[in-house]
């Protein structure tokens, strides 16, 4: 198991290094002259040249990359060309807000999604199952930003219960804080529930038809024991992987949702930095998202291995 974890961790690091190269490579292609951005449009070519030399922008790309990556490892994420302040603290703040949003959504998605999936599978072919299926079809079909707009139209414009956008820190009062979280969370949950519940349903149905369930029936076990002890454990294994993938999807989802709800998190920061050619911020933000995503996947793999005896013990008794 220790060897397995080490190997997986090494792979994560490799992937992240590759992602950082990709991100850095693509962003250096951006038609943005950093020196111009800093000095303003009226800078003389000599001034630009001098600053470029100072910032090392005339060095070969690989040297720039190494300098950038080195800074990243030591915690120096560079300085935002737009805001003119260090990227690190800015990013951390946005990250905290985004994790609040995605964490809350993730818990809701996992609990409701898995629950709906199991219930639908056990009522396979009955009205409840069909109801869940139709609802999840809608969930998959509706783009997130449209959900967001529907939520705004209904809860903000029509009912007037929730603010249409923005963010309030906890210090402004619990209700103020929560009010601004409800709408984006609701939107994220709507949009992502379907994957989890559909997969849980299909894997549960598949497991319930497997020979070892028939064998458990042949032992005369009560249905409750068959579902909880024999089926659930095996049926949830693939769901774990999908939950991890979904965490990644959520990290993507916040790009749109935070933009619509003007929620000052990581997603909005990414869009903002692209629109304004703020390279240091963009590079750091995407790398952080990739890291979170990779760690979520790693965690899922480890959990999967923990629950799956075939991976947990690589031994043969006989």
């Amino acid at each position: 198991m220790a060897a397995y974890i080490t190997r997986r961790l090494a792979l994560v690091v490799l992937v992240l290094v590759a992602v950082s190269m990709l991100v850095f490579g693509v962003t250096t292609l951006l038609p943005a002259n950093v020196a111009y951005l800093i000095l303003g449009a009226f800078a003389t070519p000599e001034q630009v040249r001098a600053l470029e030399l100072k910032l090392g922008l005339t060095d070969p790309v690989w040297q720039q990359y190494l300098r950038w990556a080195g800074g990243f490892v030591t915690g120096d994420l560079g300085v935002s060309t737009l805001m003119n302040r260090p990227v690190g603290p800015m990013l951390l703040e946005a990250l905290q807000r985004s994790l609040m949003l995605t964490g809350l959504s993730f818990v809701l998605i996992a609990v409701i999604g898995v629950g709906l999936g199991i219930v639908a599978a056990l009522r396979h072919g009955r009205p409840l199952d069909h109801g869940v299926s139709v609802a999840t079809y809608l969930g998959i079909a509706v783009p997130e930003f449209f959900w967001a707009i529907v939520v705004i139209i209904v809860f903000a414009a029509w009912l007037g219960w929730l603010p249409a956008s923005g963010y309030e820190p906890l210090s402004a009062g619990v209700w103020e804080w929560a009010k601004h979280l409800i709408a984006p969370t609701m939107t994220l949950v709507f949009g992502h529930l379907a994957h989890v519940s559909r997969l849980t349903r299909s894997s549960m149905i598949e497991v319930m038809q497997s020979p070892y369930i028939t064998a458990a029936r042949a032992k005369g076990l009560p249905e409750r024991v068959i579902v909880l002890r024999h089926a659930l454990r095996n049926a949830l294994l693939p769901t774990i992987t999908v939950l991890a993938l979904d965490f990644g999807r959520l990290m993507g989802g916040i790009v749109v949702i935070e933009t619509v709800f003007a929620y000052p998190g990581l997603g909005r920061l990414v869009v903002f930095s692209i629109q304004n050619r703020d390279l240091p911020t963009l590079q750091a933000a995407i790398l952080v998202v990739a890291a979170i995503y990779a760690l979520a996947n790693l965690l899922a793999d480890l959990l999967y291995a923990r629950l799956n005896p075939k991976i947990r013990f690589g031994r043969h008794v006989a």
Binding site: V26, Y137, E144, F145, F146, I149, G253, V256, I274, V289
Partner: protein, 272 residues
């Protein structure tokens, strides 16, 4: 034919047809600005109302259908064109080819699709065809992975050994023996991928990195309508609902086709 497939065909077919015929059946010009007709609620002349520039929402919607479908299909074709050969090669040759291609896929999959799309699009001034390309690029890894797993299963089949036993070339084995059997699951996956592509593409347009004004791309329409949700919600609702209908239609089509997949093949390929 199962109901699912029928419904899917009907919905997708209708939207496709309306989109293709849009220039001839649209009741009003889609791009003529008229300040006198701004923010009209749906009525007998403007069935779906007008937008902030006084343009007919229905006409814009119809013109937008071809953009959305075209973008989705083009993006999927692009990812198939690159992903399928990649997956075939990885699954058939195994070894370092497999390792290299799949690690590459890992790297691309480590960034959420929308951010990867943003990253790719950030390099150049936005345009819809670039969005299609970016979306297609983003969905290469999942297509390649599916093609690989299907190929892995098929490469173990004895008919591949039989082909080797009569000295067939590698390209014959890949394209004449394996590929015809890999198509059904790939086609089903591709049809579902079209919906992902439409959703992702419209999200990118929504963020301003796809179609540009005055285009009537649905994502862009919704994005532009955002500022008027309290005054004129129909401008956003019309393209939003149209997109839902389209995605549901294609999903039904794909799921229906999956049900009809040769059951023996399906059993053999497992959940690939």
């Amino acid at each position: 034919m199962p109901l699912q497939l029928k419904a899917g065909l009907a919905i997708t077919g209708t939207i496709l047809l309306l989109g293709l015929l849009a220039p001839w059946i649209a009741p009003h010009p889609w791009d003529t600005i008229s300040m006198r007709t701004r923010f009209l609620a749906p009525n007998a002349t403007y069935w779906l109302g007008t937008d902030e520039y006084g343009r007919d929402v229905l006409s814009r919607l119809l013109m937008g259908a071809r953009l959305s479908i075209g973008m989705g299909v083009a993006a999927t074709l692009f990812s198939l064109a690159i992903g399928v050969p990649m997956g075939l090669a990885a699954g058939y040759f195994r070894g370092w080819v497999d390792e290299a291609l799949m690690r590459l896929a890992d790297v691309l999959m480590a960034i959420p699709p929308i951010m990867l799309g943003l990253l790719v699009l950030a390099v150049t001034p936005p345009a819809l065809w670039k969005t299609a390309l970016a979306v297609g690029f983003v969905y290469i890894p999942p297509i390649a992975r599916l093609a690989r797993s299907v190929t892995l299963t098929l490469a173990n089949e004895e008919f591949v050994q039989a082909a080797k036993a009569r000295a067939e070339s590698t390209s014959y084995i890949l394209f004449r023996e394996i590929l015809p059997n890999a198509w059904p699951p790939l086609i089903v996956e591709a049809s579902l991928r079209v919906t992902y592509a439409i959703l992702l593409g419209s999200a990118l347009s929504f963020l301003g990195l796809g179609a540009q004004p005055p285009s009537s791309d649905w994502g862009l329409m919704i994005s532009e309508a955002r500022s008027f949700l309290d005054r004129a919600p129909w401008i956003a609702l019309a393209p939003g609902l149209a997109m839902c209908l389209l995605v549901i239609g294609i999903n039904l089509l794909g799921d229906g086709a999956r049900e009809r997949l040769d059951p023996r093949l399906k059993a053999r390929l497992g959940k690939a």
